[in-house]
């Protein structure tokens, strides 16, 4: 029984550690936590570029239409989030004097 327990414990721990060497890392998409206007503006441009690239891939036939539609909606949502945050920051930061 003790062996079963140890085995289960080891299995659990190894499962918990797998993301640290499998799969891609990087950052979770974010915008509302960004407080810098220049970073947001850059993010918007990056999203537009990604949109154009994906659109090219789709028209060239390299991306299936379902993926393209999902990708398009996702990038649009990210853009809207970033734009809203940027609007908010511009208003509040110019109101209190000084952007970052």
């Amino acid at each position: 029984m003790i062996y079963v327990m140890v085995l289960i414990g080891v299995l659990l721990i190894s499962t918990l550690l797998t993301p640290f060497w499998l799969g891609r890392g990087g950052l979770l998409q974010a915008s509302a936590s960004i407080n810098s206007q220049s970073q947001l503006a850059a993010l918007k441009e990056a999203l537009l570029k990604a949109y154009i690239n994906d659109e090219k891939a789709f028209t060239a036939g390299a991306m299936p239409s379902r993926s393209w539609l999902q990708r398009r909606d996702f990038l649009t949502n990210r853009y809207i989030d970033a734009a809203r945050r940027l609007d908010f920051l511009i208003r509040t930061q110019t109101a209190s004097g000084g952007a970052s």
Binding site: P19, G23, S31, F74, N77
Partner: protein, 659 residues
């Protein structure tokens, strides 16, 4: 031995959840994808282990392993198979285990099926869910441990409480708990939105779906509980405003209010913060009932033994409330205000706000009534009782308000006080409602109300209900007409509206049902063998009292032949069952149900020696069936609304629609 493994798995679940919280918090702060995925795997691991542990308990139940104290206390060798299964959740530890199990499963589901648009708030969602789970698993390994052993193992268990040996035990708790636990997801998303600082696109869609699912489960669970009380307890009612019943109603009310706030949020971007608050409160109050009964503060049909779990619950609920209140206080201002400058006028959104007000007032009144005895005793030292009469003073008024709000609100439009074809709709629906109300009054035999009960209120109420139903239907027909009767197109674009329509009709059917009941139509009679009595058009002849032996009980049934208008309607058997292990005598109701009323007969007393003389209580419960039908209709409506693809994603469709 298996029990030890079960306990160990629950211990690992607790540790895993704690790790899940820590890694999710770090993932949130650093926006670290790997840490988030590790946190999600921690929850998945907890889920798998919890399921296995549950499997162990079920297996042990069927193996009748009485070395496990919980199994000893809740089952016995003669317990039928289905109740051996329901013994899992029939008492404190097991019921908490079921709750935790369902929460783990739904939380895992939520983390794996998230909308990619919400990726950045998922660490917060994971942290919130696993924080709650960590505490629940902690309880499972400390105060509420289902795997506690007792030696030496006895040969037979103590048996299950007779009241719980009922098929409802297989569906009422799991359904209700599904509702409670599914509410955790909108709550977690709300906390996540606050911590993150914004409600993003795509948040509404996910939250709405989970709230609808929880709503369907809660509606079903609550009405099933009522049906069980009706069929089992013998006082011919189904809702006693019992503290635990009330505390299942409160999350339902908050969930309904949440769904309606999210509609306004979807259309106009307003009431975002209200949605956040409602989502959290709905989840918070789902623990409320458990807390007030298990801490022994209030005794109830659902009471388990008083246990040290009480202070622990209080500590958890208090800290959860404090933490979320702090988060809300600091972060709510950053929840970005509505999309555009809007004005509140006389329009649909105002009607929705009035609906919120009515619903939240009802929740407040139920809460006050339930807590008042405790509070008054604490303050004045004098015990008071708050039961059905108190709630029935206020609930009908709110029901009335809601009936009007449903119809008026549905026919109004957003941002305008003009109702297209409004006057015509109101007049036509009023005219259509007269025959409907007339039918309800005639077939429901409303005029047969006893003087002590308010006839006028019933008549007015039924008229308003009918008028509401006609208004809603008229509005639906009007909308389909504008699409030139292309029903398929209408449904493909308006599934949420249609689901809402059905759910509202369901609620109005239930209200009509409530209006019909408890009219005081009853008769008590002592009959000798062969004697009969006339009641409400029924000719009831008593035959004799039969004694039958069942699995684990002795059944004393009084056989009554029922005739109406000369037609023989069969035999009903109101009975008492005496359970061997516990000695309780419980009611089995003699029920003859038609669409419009129930003939409800209970066996009060009988001559134990000859079985030839018995006392019966006869009740006529009019329109009770409406309430059960309404449950199906409401759940059906809710389920339809879940499948709407357009709600919560409006901005995408108006501009980027597929050409």
């Amino acid at each position: 031995m298996l029990a030890d493994l079960g306990f160990y798995l629950l211990l690992l679940c607790c540790i895993s959840s704690i790790y899940g919280v820590l890694s999710a918090v770090l993932a949130a702060v650093w926006r670290h994808r790997r840490l988030y995925r590790s946190s999600r795997l921690a929850l998945t691991g907890s889920c798998v282990m919890a399921v296995v542990a549950a499997g162990i308990l079920v297996y042990s139940l069927f193996q009748r392993d009485y070395s496990i104290a919980y199994i000893f206390k809740n089952s016995s060798n003669d317990l039928p198979q289905i109740y051996t299964l329901t013994a899992f959740w029939c008492s404190l530890e097991g019921s908490h285990f079921l709750w935790t199990l369902l929460l783990t499963v739904y939380a895992t589901l939520a983390l794996w099926t998230y909308n990619k648009d919400n990726e950045h708030i998922m660490p917060y969602v994971s942290a919130s869910l696993q924080a709650v789970l960590a505490w629940m698993f902690y309880l499972l390994i400390s105060y509420s441990d289902p795997f506690v052993r007792m030696f030496p193992a006895q040969a037979n268990g103590q048996g299950m409480n007779a009241l719980l040996q009922n098929p409802y035990m297989a569906i009422h708790p799991p359904t209700l708990f599904t509702g409670y636990t599914a509410l955790a997801i909108p709550a977690a998303y709300s906390v996540a939105a606050l911590l993150y600082g914004d409600i993003t696109e795509g948040w509404l869609k996910t939250t709405r779906r989970w709230a609808l699912y929880a709503w369907c489960a809660l509606t079903a669970g609550i009405i099933l509980g009522g049906n069980w009380a009706y069929a089992e307890l013998g006082w011919s009612g189904y809702w006693a405003w019992d503290p635990v019943e009330n505390s299942s109603l409160i999350p339902w009310i908050f969930c309904t209010a949440l769904l309606h706030a999210m509609i306004v949020q979807d259309k106009l971007g307003h009431l975002k913060r209200l949605s956040l608050v409602l989502a959290f409160l709905a989840f918070f109050f789902s623990f409320f009932g458990t807390f007030i009964t298990r801490s022994g503060v209030i005794s109830s049909v659902h009471s388990f033994a008083e246990s040290p779990i009480g202070p622990n619950y209080l500590a958890f609920l208090a800290s959860m409330l404090l933490v979320v209140a702090l988060v809300y206080g600091f972060r709510a201002p950053s929840i970005l205000p509505p999309d555009a400058e809007k004005v509140w006028g006389v329009s649909k959104e105002s009607a929705l706000v009035i609906t919120q007000f009515l619903l939240l007032t009802l929740a407040a009144i139920v809460c006050v009534g339930t807590l008042y005895p405790i509070v008054s005793e604490a303050i004045t030292g004098e015990r008071t009782t708050v039961q059905a009469p108190y709630f029935n003073t206020f609930a009908p008024w709110i029901g009335l308000g809601l009936t009007v709000a449903i119809s008026v609100g549905n026919i109004m439009r957003y941002q305008t006080n003009k109702i297209p074809g409004g006057l015509r709709l109101l007049v036509l629906s009023f005219l259509a409602s007269l025959p409907l109300a007339g039918a309800l009054i005639y077939y429901g035999e409303v005029m047969a109300t006893k003087k002590a009960f308010n006839l006028g209120a019933q008549l007015v109420g039924l008229l308003l209900c009918s008028w509401s139903i006609c208004c809603l239907s008229g509005d639906l027909l009007g909308r389909i007409k504008t699409l030139r009767w292309n029903v398929k197109l209408f449904l493909s674009r308006n599934l949420a509206y249609f689901g809402g329509y059905i759910a509202h009709i369901g609620l109005l059917i239930a209200i009509a049902g409530f209006l019909g009941n408890y009219r005081g139509l009853q008769k008590i009679a002592t009959l000798r063998s062969g004697e009969s009595v006339e009641f409400f058009g029924y000719h009831l002849t008593f035959d004799k009292v039969e004694t039958t032996e069942e699995d684990n009980a002795t059944l004393f049934s009084g056989l009554i032949n029922v005739q109406r208008n000369g037609l023989d309607l069969g035999v009903i058997r109101p009975a008492r069952s005496k359970y061997v292990t516990t000695g309780n005598m419980n009611h089995e109701i003699g029920l003859l149900s038609t669409f419009w009323h129930d003939l409800y007969v209970t066996l009060s007393d009988f001559d134990r020696e000859t079985g030839k003389k018995a006392t019966f209580e006869f009740h006529i419960n009019a329109t009770v069936r409406f309430v059960w039908i309404a449950a199906f209709v409401m759940v059906f409506g809710g389920l339809i609304a879940i499948f709407d693809r357009y709600r919560g994603a409006k901005s995408r469709d108006t501009v980027r629609s597929d050409a």
